[in-house]
C-alpha cells in the first residue's frame, strides 16, 4: 500500500512518514451521554472521511485531510 499525504509544511510525502490520528471528531461534547458517543461511536465511513494525520517523521505537524477509505485517495 502506498499513499501520499499533503503536508502544508513539507508537501506531498509518503504516508509512512505519518501516524494516523483517527477520524476528525469534536473536541468537546455538551454532556456525559453524548461524550460516550463522541469517544466510542465513530462514523467509520466507507467513503470520504475527514481525518487527522501527524507528520511524525517530518515536521511534526498535524494535518486534517479527507481520505476515501475505499480507495485511500487523499484530498487536502
Amino acid at each position: 500500500m502506498s499513499m501520499l499525504v499533503t503536508c502544508p509544511t513539507c508537501g506531498r510525502r509518503p504516508f509512512t512518514e505519518f501516524s494516523f490520528g483517527g477520524e476528525l471528531r469534536d473536541v468537546v461534547s455538551p454532556d456525559t451521554a453524548s461524550d460516550f458517543e463522541r469517544v466510542y461511536l465513530h462514523d467509520n465511513a466507507a467513503g470520504p472521511q475527514r481525518e487527522r494525520w501527524f507528520h511524525l517523521l517530518g515536521c511534526r505537524r498535524w494535518v486534517t485531510l479527507t481520505r476515501d477509505t475505499g480507495t485511500n485517495r487523499v484530498e487536502a
Partner: protein
Amino acid sequence: MPWLRLDGRRVEIHDGDTVAAAAFRAGVRTFTRSLKAHRRRGLYCGTGDCANCLVTVDGLPGERACVTPARDGMQVERETGWPSAERDALAINDRLHRFMPVGFYYKVFARPRWLWPVAERVIRRATGTGTLPPDAPTRRTPTRFVRVRTLVIGGGVAGLAAAATAAGEGSVVLADEAAPGARATDPAARDAIARLTAEARAAGAEILEQHAAIGIYEGPAAALLGPDELVEVEAEHVIVATGALEAHGVFPGNDLPGVWLGRGAARMTAIHGVTIGERVVVVANTEEGAHLSEALRATGATVTLVTGRVLEARGTRQVSSVTVLTPEGRRAFACDALVLSLGWAPRDTLLRMTAEPEVVGAGDVVRPGSTLAEAEASGRAAARGQADQPTEATSWPIAEHDGYVCVCEDVSMHDLERAWDEGWTSSEILKRYTTATMGPCQGALCSRHLAEHARAKGAAPAARGRTTARPPVRAPRLGDLIGGVHEQVERRTALHDRHVAAGARMDHSGVWLRPGTYGDVGEEIRVVRERVSVMDVSTLGKFLVAGVDARTLLDQVFPLDVGAIAPGRARYLLALDEAGYVMDDGLLAALGDGSYFLTSTSGGADRMEAWLRNWIDRLDLHVHLVNQTAQLGAINVAGPNARDLLATLTDDDLSRAAIPYPGHADIVVAGVPCRAIAVGFVGELSYELHHPRGRSEGLWDVLLAAGEPWDIRPHGLDALDVLRLEKGHVYLAQDTMPDDHPAKLGLRWAVASQKETFVGKRALERMDALPLERRLVGLRFDGAPQRGHPLAVDGAIVGRITSCAVSEAAGGPVGLGWVRAVDGAFPDQLTAGAVTATVSPTPFYDPEGMRLRA
C-alpha cells in the same frame, strides 16, 4: 565458444542466446514437469509470461529460461521431475489423473485424520518445484525511491512514444518491462523503437533497462524490479504499455512440448536462429501469424498456415499431429511444431490492479492488435491525457471438454467442469477451489478463460468477472521482498560508549538501547539504598511548554491541578486519553516564568508530543512546545549520599529549602548547567540532572570520580525494576493494560476531580459510577513467584502477577498484580501455584517516604 552446463551436460552458447535458446538448440524439449500430473512441458510463450521453462540458474531456483541471457560457465538445472525432468517416475500421476480429480486432496485424505499429515508430506514432495538451499546467502536487493511526474511501464512502441511525449511536460521514468514483445522480430518495429528511444532520451526521459513492474499501488505508486535494484516510484501519472501476448489455446494436448505461442516461436527463429521444427503448422487468426509463417519458412521448415479452431493435438514426448476445424472443415496434419496465433491477450494485470484514474493504458494493452502507427498514436495520446479505454477485441476460444486451462497448476477444462458441478459457480470461487490462475504466471495465460468459462456456464453477472489482480505480477525473489524493509531504528544515548566500556549488558527498551545491568544487580540495588549511584535516564521524554497559553493547555489536557504547582515545584503527572484510560505518566515542573518542563516515559515521548500538538491545534492555543528529548541528557544521582556527592561538585544550595521535594532548581555541577529535579522513583534522595547532551560524558565521568569515597557505581534497568517495585511504583505497559483508568491502578489521587474540565473527565465520571471490577494491588509472597503467573482463589483464576522480585529492602518476595472482585469484594489472600500471595499495602519500602524527602 562459450558454454553453459545443463544438468551437468555441456551446452554451447551462441551470441545473444537465452538459456532457453541454447538448451533448445542442443535438443532439450522438456524443460519442466507439470505440478500434479508430471506431464512434459516445453517452451510455450517464449516471452517470459508463462512458467513452463522455470529452471535453477547458478543456484537460484525459478528463473525463466526464455528471458535469462545465457552466460559462459552458467550452471543450469531442471528442477522438476523425479529422478529427472526427462525420466520422471511420477509421470504415472498422469495416468492416475482421473482418480485424482480437482480438490481430491481435500477429500481423499480427510479421513482418517492421521492420514493427512502423511499424505501431505508425499504430496508436497511430488508437487515441489525448485529448492532453495538452506545455506543460500542472504541477499538484500538495494532499494531506491524515485518521485516523477510520469511513470511509463513498457518499453515498446506505445510506451516509448508516451515517454517521449510526456517528457515535454515534466520528469519521466520508463521501465522497459524486460518483456520482449513485437519489437524483437519485426524490422519496422525495431526501427520505430530505435527512433522513439532516441526521441525519449533527447526529451529527458530516464529509461530503466531490464526493469519490470511487480505491482501498482495506491498513490499511484509502483515497484520496479531491476537486475540488481528495487525501485519504488511515486508518480502523478502512470502509463501502462505492457502490450499483449497471444491468446492461450485450450484444447486436448495444448500443453505438449512443441506447441508454441506465435511470438515465442518468432523470437526463437528471428533472433536466435533456432529452427523450431521441420514440419510446422501455424494456426493464425491474426495478421502477425501470417507474417510469422513466412519467417518460419525462411528457416527451411515446411510450414502449413491454417485459420480456424484447434480441436486436438497429439504426441507423446512432443507434439506429432494436430486437428484443426478450418472454414473448409475438419483437417488433420502431422507436425513437429504447432504455432498458435489465435488472438491477443492484453497484458493488463497492472492496469486491473488499481482503480486510480491517474493510471491509464496505451498501445496493445488497451487496443490489442494495433499497428505500429496506432500504438505510437495511442502512447502519445495517453501522455497528453487522452488515453484509450481498454477494449477486449478477442473472444476466448474454449474447448468443450478437455485441455489445460491453467498450465502452471495443471487445471484442465475437465477440472473446471467438475468443480462447477460440485457447486463452485463463480470465477473467484472456481479459482480458489481449483487453484487455476494461482501459479507462478499469476493467470497471465488463463485468467480470461476462467472468467469466460463462468460466463459460458451461466454464472450470475457478479460471479463471472475476471479474478482480482494483485501484486506481484512477476515472481520477486526473497531478497527483493526484503529490499525495501529497513533495519530497526535503534537510539543510543550520549553515554552509550560509557556503558559499553563499563561492561554493561545493553538491552533493547523500545527504540532505545539501555544498560540492563553492569554485572551485579544485587550490588547495584544496595548501592542505591545504602550509598549513592547514578543512572542514565536520558531516554525520558523531555518537553518545554511555553507561551501565553502554556498553563491553559496543561490544565485542559491533564488531570492534575496545574495552578497548584508553585514555581520551583513539580508534580506527578498522569496523561489520560479521551476514554479516561491511562496513556502515559511523567512529571510536570513549573518554571519561574510561566512556562513548564514536562517529562514523559521513555517509550511515550513521541506519543506525548503528538498528543500535545493535537490539543494545541484543536484548542487553538498559543503554545511553544519544544521536544528536548534528544537535546538534553539526564543522569539520576540517587542514594542517601547523593547530596554529599553533589556538594563536592557545586557551590549551589542543595538543601530542601533550595530544591524541595518534589521540585527543581537550576544548578551548575562541575561547570555543567543542570536542571536538578528532586524526584523519587527509586525511593531515595535523588537529583535528576538534565543537562546539554554534549556534556553528558564529562558529567558522568566527574560524578563517578567524585563518588569514589562512597564506592559509587552505576545501576541499570534490572536494578531499577526492583527499586521502583519496592516503592510500589507502576511500570506503564508492564503493570497496566490499555483500558486502565486511574482508580484501577490506585492512582485516583493523581486526578484533580474538582477541576472543571480535562481530557477524559467525563469518561472517568461514567466509570466512577460503576463498581470497580479489578484493580492493581501490592502482593507479598511466601515463596518465589513468577511474573505472569495467574492468581487464584479456591482454584478459580482471578488475577495475574505483573511484576515481582525478591527484595532485601522489603524483607522478602513482593510484587504487583491484577486482582478481580469476587462476589463484589476483593480477595486479600490468593495463590500463585504453590505460592501464597497476600495483598499488601504499598510502598513495601519506606512507606512514609522519609528517605526521599531527606
